[in-house]
């Protein structure tokens, strides 16, 4: 079992090495003639005003909250799904209640207008 994770480890070294090496070779081969115009922010013809790092109304933060709830739900359901064949009828009832509660939560968020993109 552990040797399988050894492969993951070795592959991660290879993958990381490959992606860094590509950028390194490009950095070595490419010309280096920086000038202020070239390095200015690419937004439009006019000079950029201000930074992009301002306080910003993120439209998706409610989506992010709903996402967290549902992602945790699916993570809980994975072990249930693997063991499902060996469990009795009780597992079905329990998971059904669990899923239905979350379904009710989704309907509630829907009715409250949390799922509208403005």
């Amino acid at each position: 079992m552990l040797s399988k994770y050894a492969f993951i480890g070795i592959l991660s070294v290879i993958a990381f090495g490959f992606s860094v090496l590509g950028l390194l070779v490009a950095w070595l081969l490419g010309p280096k003639k920086p000038n202020p115009i070239k390095q200015s922010t690419y937004e439009c013809g006019v000079e950029t005003i201000g930074e992009a790092w301002v306080q910003f109304r993120a439209q998706y933060y409610i989506f992010a909250l709903v996402f967290v709830v549902f992602d945790i739900e699916t993570v809980f359901l994975y072990p249930w799904a693997v063991a499902y064949g060996r469990l009795g009828l009780f597992a079905l009832v329990e998971a059904a209640i669990f899923v239905l509660i979350l379904f009710a939560g989704l309907l509630y968020a829907w009715r409250k207008g949390a799922l509208e993109w403005q």
Partner: protein
């Protein structure tokens, strides 16, 4: 004949035996794994080169053009030429950018996609690492890519990049749920998360075909496919990096090789999500005579994988883009409820005290009914919206 029947694996075993003649066990393992990783990496890169060429040719034909035809026979080497050109471009870091995460983002994007390849079962016994949590591993590593997107969008210090990054994250998060639920349905049917066991569970029957999970839960495959298209940010879900509208979104400031890395990550993702679709729904390497000649499995797998990729390209040539509110509605108001209902349906049917073939028929019928109900709901909603627009002008 025996050697050819399972050619690739026997080649590997023979090589390992030859090595262990003069090396200790840990060194053999190290060399095996390093070689395996390199073969996986090179294989993926070659597939990407091929797939980019296929896409350009195919889209060109769909749009009544010729496509690349100058470099190499039929323009086959066009992608190589493009890669070489990008390799020699100047590395520009914009003045206001945050250099560490700006440079790390493309590395992370490519890294995350290559890592997913570790658990893809390309053939009988041909898999990087057959983890017993394979499906969960795919989901977990896949979400590292989202972080790369957010890093790229934030660190560029560009308003378009930031907006693009935010919206991409919103899209990826929303479609992650139906994607993971669709995979969960297959796990529920098979009772395992290991990729090889999932494929093995789909064997048997006439020519190893009727047990593929697409013939049990076609609706789950449709949900998976739509969500995968959204995860890939491909048409019709490519509004966040629409070149013609918001100049590539979150990677607007990237040029040269770093741009190429995001491009590469996108194509590796396309191939690997097709591979996962093949593994979970299309029977992986299962096919006629695969139990007698396991070597055939590799060709079946690659064939199915490229077929799914082709369909993804075909969709790009066919459909227009969605609007962002339509995009979010599709994920949260249609796909997630549908996946939850389907999950409960599968859980109930699996527990029914009937023979498997009857269960399969019930599941198929249930899937089709659910699909028709969903289509009817969407159709009614679209008609109502259209009528409202006719009455009150543009709404």
């Amino acid at each position: 004949m025996e050697f050819v029947g399972d050619f690739f694996r026997n080649l590997g075993i023979a090589f390992s035996n030859w090595l262990s003649g003069f090396l200790p066990a840990w060194a053999v393992l190290l060399i095996d794994y390093t070689l395996g990783g390199l073969i996986l990496l090179v294989g993926i890169l070659v597939a990407v080169l091929l797939v980019i060429w296929v896409e350009r040719k195919m889209i060109a034909r769909l749009q009544d053009r010729l496509g690349p035809n100058r470099v190499g026979p039929y323009g086959l080497l066009q992608t190589v030429a493009d890669a070489l050109k990008l390799l020699t471009k100047e590395d520009i870091i914009p003045e206001g950018a945050e250099p560490i995460s700006f440079n790390l983002a493309p590395v992370l994007a490519v890294f995350a996609t290559i890592m997913v390849g570790a658990v893809i079962p390309f053939g009988v016994g041909i898999i990087g690492a057959d983890l017993n949590v394979g499906v969960l591993y795919v989901v977990a590593i896949g979400s590292v890519g989202v972080m790369a997107t957010l890093m790229a969008g934030w660190s560029s210090n560009n308003k378009y990049a930031l907006l693009g990054g935010f919206r991409v994250v919103a899209q990826l998060l929303s479609y992650e749920i139906p994607l993971v639920l669709a995979m969960l349905i297959v796990v529920l049917l098979a009772g395992t998360m290991s990729m090889q066991s999932l494929v093995k569970a789909q064997g048997g029957g006439f020519l190893n075909i009727p047990n593929w999970y697409i013939f049990y839960v076609p609706l789950a495959f449709i949900i998976y496919f739509i969500s995968a298209l959204a995860e890939l940010e491909r048409t019709p879900f490519d509004l966040l990096e629409a070149d013609s509208e918001i100049v590539a979104g979150f990677f607007i400031e990237y040029s040269g090789m770093k741009f190429a890395w995001f491009y590469l990550a996108g194509y590796i993702n396309t191939i690997l999500l097709s591979a996962i679709a093949t593994t979970l729904f299309l029977g992986g390497w299962q096919g006629p005579f695969v139990d007698r000649f396991p070597v055939l499995g590799v060709f079946y797998f690659l064939g199915k994988m490229f077929l799914v990729t082709l369909v993804i390209f075909w969709i790009r040539g066919t459909y227009p883009r969605l609007r962002i509110d339509q995009l979010m509605d599709l994920a949260w108001k249609i796909l997630v409820p549908l996946a939850l209902i389907l999950l409960l349906l599968v859980a109930i049917v699996v527990k029914l005290p009937t023979p498997p073939i009857i269960q399969q028929v019930i599941l198929l019928v249930g899937n089709i009914v659910l699909l028709l109900a969903a289509l009817g709901y969407v159709g009614r909603h679209l008609r109502l919206t259209a009528e409202r627009q006719k009455l009150g002008g543009r709404l």
